[in-house]
C-alpha cells in the first residue's frame, strides 16, 4: 500500500470514528435531556422529581431504560405491522441523521454539506412520516386524529421555517452551516435576524412537537395521539426521538443565530469551542423545558391560523427586508 492509500484509509477511519462519537454523544445527551427535563420541570412545579436512583436521581435514566428494554413489546393484532414497526425507526433516525450537518467545533462535525440547511429541511420533512405512519397504522381513532394533526401542522410550519432562514442565507451567501457559523465571527445573526430567529424558534417547537405545538399527542384531547398503541422499546424510540428533536433544534439555533462555537477568548483559548457550543445548546434545551412548564396548548385551528396568517407573512417580510439590505 502506498502512503497515500494509508493516509486516505486513516482519514476515513478518523471520519467514521468522529461520526460514531458524535452519534453516541447526541443520543446520550438526548436521553440525559429527559432526566434534565424531569428535574427542571419539577423545580418549576414546586416538587422534587426523580431523586432516588443514584446521586440526586442521576441514574433514574438507567433504571427507566432497563425497564423499557425488558418491557413486553406489544404489537396489537389490529395494526398494519410493517408500517407500525417502521414509524418509530423513522422517528428516531430522521432527526438523528440531520446532526450530520451540524458543525460542533472548528474540527468536529460529520460532514460539511454545501446544502446543509436544505438537508435539515428534507430530514425534518421526513420525520413527519413517522407520526403519520404511526397514526395511520395503529388503526385507532385517536392515533389517526393525532396523525392528521401532525401532517397539517408540519405542512403549515415547514413553509415558513424554510423562509425564516433565507435571511441568513442571503447574508452569508451559503447554505453550508459551517460557513454560516464562520460568518458570525464578529456578530451573531440573532441581532440582525431577530424576526428570523423568532419565526424559526416557533417552527422549531413545531418540528419537535413540543408544547405548545404538541397537538399530535395532546394528552388532554387525544389520550396519547399517534403513540397511543405503542409500548416498550418502540414507544421509547418515539420518546427519545422527541428529545433528539429538541437537541437538534437547539443546536441549529446555536449554529444559525448564536455564533456556534464562537465566544470571548476563542482566539487565544481554542479549547473553549466545545464548551461554548454545549452551553448555548443547553440554554435552548432549558428554554424548551421552561416553555413546556409555562404555556397552555392552543387549539388546532388556531395553530394553523397563526402559522399561515401571521408567521408566514412575518418571515416573508423578514426575507424581503434582509434582501433589500443585502442588495443595497
Amino acid at each position: 500500500m502506498t502512503d497515500e492509500t494509508i493516509n486516505m484509509l486513516l482519514a476515513v477511519g478518523l471520519a467514521i470514528l468522529k461520526s460514531v462519537v458524535i452519534l453516541l454523544v447526541v443520543v446520550a445527551f438526548s436521553a440525559i435531556t429527559i432526566f434534565i427535563e424531569r428535574r427542571m420541570l419539577a423545580l418549576w412545579q414546586d416538587r422534587y422529581g426523580p431523586n432516588r436512583v443514584g446521586w440526586q436521581g442521576v441514574l433514574q435514566l438507567v433504571a427507566d431504560m432497563l425497564k423499557m428494554f425488558f418491557k413486553e413489546d406489544w404489537t396489537p393484532p389490529f395494526v398494519d405491522k410493517l408500517i407500525f414497526w417502521l414509524a418509530p425507526a423513522i422517528a428516531m433516525s430522521a432527526l438523528l441523521i440531520s446532526f450530520a450537518v451540524v458543525p460542533i467545533t472548528p474540527e468536529w462535525g460529520v460532514v460539511d454539506l454545501d446544502i446543509g440547511i436544505l438537508f435539515f429541511f428534507a430530514m425534518a420533512g421526513l420525520a413527519v412520516y413517522a407520526i403519520m405512519f404511526a397514526g395511520w397504522s395503529s388503526n385507532n381513532k385517536y392515533s389517526l386524529l393525532g396523525g392528521i394533526r401532525a401532517a397539517a401542522q408540519t405542512l403549515s410550519y415547514e413553509v415558513f421555517m424554510g423562509i425564516s432562514l433565507m435571511g441568513i442565507v442571503a447574508i452569508t451567501g451559503s447554505f453550508s452551516l459551517r460557513d454560516i457559523v464562520e460568518a458570525q465571527k464578529d456578530g451573531w445573526f440573532i441581532f440582525p435576524q431577530i424576526i428570523g430567529f423568532l419565526t424559526f424558534i416557533t417552527a422549531g417547537f413545531a418540528v419537535a412537537h413540543r408544547t405548545p405545538f404538541d397537538l399530535p399527542e395532546a394528552e388532554q384531547e387525544l389520550v396519547a395521539g399517534y403513540q397511543t398503541e405503542y409500548s416498550g422499546l418502540k414507544w421509547g424510540m418515539f420518546y427519545v426521538g422527541e428529545y433528539i428533536g429538541v437537541v437538534l433544534v437547539s443546536s441549529l439555533l446555536t449554529v444559525l443565530f448564536c455564533g456556534g462555537w464562537y465566544g470571548p477568548f476563542i482566539d487565544v483559548l481554542p479549547w473553549l469551542a466545545f464548551p461554548y457550543f454545549a452551553i448555548k445548546v443547553f440554554f435552548f434545551v432549558s428554554l424548551f423545558i421552561l416553555v413546556r412548564a409555562s404555556l397552555p396548548r392552543p387549539r388546532y385551528d388556531q395553530v394553523m391560523a397563526a402559522g399561515w396568517k401571521f408567521m408566514l407573512p412575518l418571515s416573508l417580510l423578514n426575507l424581503i427586508v434582509t434582501a433589500a439590505v443585502v442588495l443595497m
Binding site: 420541570l41 418549576w44 412545579q45 414546586d46 416538587r47 381513532k141 385517536y142 386524529l145 408544547t211 405548545p212 404538541d214 395532546a218 394528552e219 388532554q220 384531547e221 387525544l222 389520550v223 413546556r292 412548564a293 409555562s294 404555556l295 397552555p296 396548548r297 392552543p298 387549539r299 388546532y300 385551528d301 388556531q302
Partner: protein, 600 residues
C-alpha cells in the same frame, strides 16, 4: 319569605281539598285557573307548596306554571317514590307510585312541587320534555329506577344501569343487599351481552353515519379518558375535528346512594353523603343534616351554624382550587395544578385539625357537629387566610391572563341565562351568564344571612367566565371564613334535643328516661317524625338538595338526592354542537363535574 308553619295546622290531617295553602300566590293562581277541586294541597315540614294533580291535568298544569307571569323557568328536580309500603301518609291521595316535579321561579324566588299519583297497574305518564328539555334524563332515571314509563319520550331507556339490567332498584320489592341475590358470575355469554349493550348505534339517536361523499367518525371519549374527569363516556359524531353531535352516557359511577339511604339509620347515612360530590366533603353533609333537622324540628345553636358555614366554605375553596388546576391542565398548561395542590394541602391542614379527616370527614351531625373546634383553630384558619389571596393573585396573573388560555376559552361553549335555566344549570355555570342566583343569598340557610359577601357574576357565559366566577368565589369564601373567625359565637356545639345524634349523654346516669332515649338513639338511631322535608344548598358545583321522606322509622323511607352535575352533563350536546374536540375538553373542564355527583 315569611310563610307560617303549616305543619301544626289541623287541616293537615283532614285530607279534603281545603283552602290551606292559599297564602302562596302560586297556589291561588292555580286554584283560580283550574279550580280548587283539581288539587290536593299537601303540607310539608319544608313549607314548600306541594300540590297533587290528576294525571290527565298534569301537562296543562305544568304548562301553566311554565308560562305564568313570572314563570317557573327551571325544572330543578323530577323523581318518584314507591309509596306501597308507606304507612304515614295522612292527607295524601291514594297512590302506589308518586312522581314529583320540583319547579323553581327565579323572579318570584319561590318553588312549587307538583305530585302525581299512579297506580301499580298503570305506570304511565306523559313526557314533559317539550316544556323543560332537561326532563329528558330525569324521566329516564325514573324509568330506570322505578319502571314508570313516559309516553312520547324519544329515548325511554335506562340511563344509570346497563340496558340488560333486570328490575327497578328503587322499588320497595327490590332487594337492597348483594347477599339477597345469587352470587354474581361473569361467563362469556354475559360478558358478550355486557359488551354489546355498550355498542353505540348512531341510528338509535337519530344520527346519520355519513353524508353522500363522506363518512363521519364516531369517537368514544371515555369512560377511560384523561379529560373525562371520571368514568364518563361521551360519543362524538365528528366531521374532521368538528363535533356535529354527541351523546353523553352516564351511570358508570352509579352506586345506588339513594337506595342505600333506605337501609341506613338517619345518623349512619352521613358518611355516604360525603361521597356524593367527593370533592365537597362536609358540604355534602350540610343539606342532609339540615333536611333531617327540619324533619326532627331541631333548631341548632349559632355556634353550630357558624362552624358549619366555615367548614363548608373551606371545602368550596378546596373544590374550586382543584377545578382551577384541572381546568388549566385541560387546556394544556401542566404546571399550575401543582401549586394548587399545595394550597389545598394548606386548607386540609385546617380541615384535618378540625375534623380529623381530609376529604371525607362526615363531620356534621344531626343537631350539631361531631365535636367542638380544637384549641388553636383560629391560628390555623388565620394562617390560611393570610396565605391564599397572594396565591390567587399570582394564578390570575400567570395563568388566566395568558393569551393562549384566553383564546382557548373565551367564547368557547357559550350559553345564555335562558338556556342555562332551561337545562337546570345552577352554580357558577349559571352565574357566569349574568344571573346572580346564589342560594346563600336568595334562600339563606345555616345563618348565611348574617354574613357579608358578594355573589360573583360574569356576563359572557363561556368557559373563561365560568373560571373567573369560581376564582372570585374563592375570594368571597375567604371573606366568609374571616367573618366566622372574627365572630365565632360561644356556646354548645350540639343542640339540646332528644333527636340529636349521638344523643345528649350528660344526664344518662341520673335519669332513667334520658338513659332509655340515649340507649335507643345510639343503638337503633333516632326515630324521625313522619313527614317530608327538602333542603337545598349552594354546594360547590351548584344546587344540591336532599328530599327526605320519613315514615316514623329509624331509617329514611326515601331519600332523593338532587345533584348539580347531573343537570350540567345533560346540557352538553346543546352547547357543544359545531365546536371542535379541543373546545369540548375546555368545556368539560369548565363544567367542573364529579361523576359520583352525577350518578350517585
Amino acid at each position: 319569605m315569611a310563610i307560617p308553619n303549616m305543619a301544626d295546622t289541623a287541616n293537615a290531617t283532614t285530607g279534603a281539598p281545603s283552602v290551606v295553602g292559599t297564602e302562596h300566590a302560586i297556589v291561588r293562581e292555580l286554584y283560580q285557573r283550574f279550580g280548587e277541586g283539581a288539587f290536593v294541597f299537601q303540607t310539608n315540614r319544608d313549607r314548600l307548596p306541594t300540590l297533587w294533580v290528576e294525571r290527565s291535568q298534569l301537562v296543562a298544569v305544568l304548562k301553566f306554571l311554565r308560562e305564568a307571569p313570572k314563570p317557573y323557568v327551571m325544572l330543578l328536580d323530577l323523581s318518584a317514590i314507591d309509596e306501597r309500603l308507606r304507612q304515614h301518609r295522612e292527607g295524601q291521595p291514594k297512590s302506589d307510585f308518586t312522581v314529583f316535579y320540583h319547579l323553581v321561579s327565579i323572579e318570584r324566588n319561590s318553588d312549587v312541587r307538583i305530585k302525581v299519583a299512579l297506580s301499580e297497574s298503570d305506570l304511565n305518564l306523559p313526557t314533559i320534555i317539550s316544556i323543560w328539555p332537561n326532563a329528558n334524563w330525569y324521566e329516564r332515571e325514573v324509568f330506570d329506577l322505578f319502571g314508570i314509563k313516559f309516553e312520547g319520550h324519544p329515548h325511554m331507556q335506562r340511563i344509570l344501569l346497563p340496558r340488560y339490567w333486570e328490575g327497578h332498584p328503587l322499588r320497595k320489592d327490590y332487594p337492597a343487599r348483594a347477599t339477597e341475590f345469587d352470587p354474581f358470575m361473569l361467563n362469556d355469554a354475559r360478558q358478550d351481552e355486557a359488551e354489546q349493550a355498550l355498542d353505540f348505534k348512531p341510528e338509535e339517536w337519530g344520527m346519520k353515519r355519513g353524508r353522500a361523499d363522506e363518512d363521519f367518525m364516531f369517537l368514544n371519549l371515555g369512560p377511560n379518558h384523561p379529560s373525562a374527569h371520571g368514568a364518563f363516556r361521551i360519543v362524538l359524531q365528528l366531521d374532521g375535528e368538528e363535533i356535529l353531535d354527541c351523546v353523553p352516557e352516564i351511570g358508570y359511577h352509579h352506586r345506588g346512594a339513594e337506595k342505600m339511604a333506605e337501609r341506613q339509620s338517619w345518623h349512619s347515612y352521613i358518611p355516604y353523603t360525603d361521597r356524593i360530590d367527593y370533592l365537597g366533603g362536609v358540604m355534602n353533609n350540610l343539606p342532609y343534616v339540615l333536611a333531617v333537622e327540619k324533619l326532627a324540628g331541631i333548631e341548632v345553636p349559632d355556634r353550630v351554624k357558624t362552624i358549619r358555614v366555615m367548614m363548608a366554605e373551606f371545602f368550596r375553596i378546596s373544590s374550586h382550587l382543584l377545578f382551577l388546576g384541572t381546568y388549566i391542565i385541560d387546556v394544556g398548561a401542566m404546571t399550575p395544578i401543582f401549586y394548587m395542590f399545595t394550597d389545598r394541602q394548606k386548607a386540609y391542614d385546617v380541615i384535618e385539625a378540625v375534623t380529623g379527616f381530609r376529604m371525607h370527614p362526615a363531620w356534621y351531625r344531626i343537631g350539631g357537629v361531631a365535636h367542638d373546634l380544637p384549641n388553636g383553630w383560629d391560628r390555623l384558619v388565620r394562617d390560611f387566610l393570610d396565605w391564599m389571596p397572594k396565591r390567587l393573585a399570582s394564578y390570575e396573573k400567570a395563568a388566566l391572563k395568558n393569551g393562549i388560555l384566553r383564546s382557548r376559552t373565551i367564547g368557547v361553549a357559550q350559553y345564555n341565562t335562558e338556556e342555562a335555566l332551561a337545562w337546570g344549570t345552577t352554580g357558577p355555570g349559571l352565574r357566569a351568564t349574568g344571573l346572580a342566583w346564589d342560594l346563600r343569598k336568595v334562600r339563606p340557610y345555616s345563618g348565611y344571612e348574617n354574613f357579608e359577601f358578594d355573589v360573583p357574576v360574569r356576563d359572557n357565559g363561556d368557559a373563561y367566565d365560568r373560571c373567573l366566577v369560581r376564582i372570585e368565589e374563592i375570594r368571597q369564601s375567604l371573606r366568609i371564613i374571616r367573618q366566622c373567625l372574627d365572630n365565632m359565637p360561644a356556646g354548645p356545639y350540639k343542640a339540646d334535643h332528644p333527636l340529636t345524634c349521638p344523643p345528649p349523654k350528660e344526664r344518662t346516669l341520673k335519669d332513667i328516661e334520658t338513659l332509655i332515649t340515649h340507649f335507643l338513639g345510639v343503638t337503633w338511631g333516632p326515630v324521625m317524625p313522619e313527614g317530608e322535608a327538602l333542603q337545598m344548598i349552594e354546594a360547590t358545583k351548584g344546587v344540591n338538595s336532599y328530599y327526605l321522606f320519613s315514615d316514623r322509622s329509624t331509617m329514611s323511607y326515601r331519600t332523593r338526592i338532587r345533584t348539580p352535575s347531573f343537570a350540567h352533563l345533560q346540557q352538553i350536546p346543546s352547547v357543544i354542537r359545531g365546536s371542535m374536540i379541543a373546545d369540548m375538553i375546555a368545556y368539560l373542564a369548565s363544567i367542573d363535574f364529579v361523576m359520583a355527583d352525577v350518578d350517585r
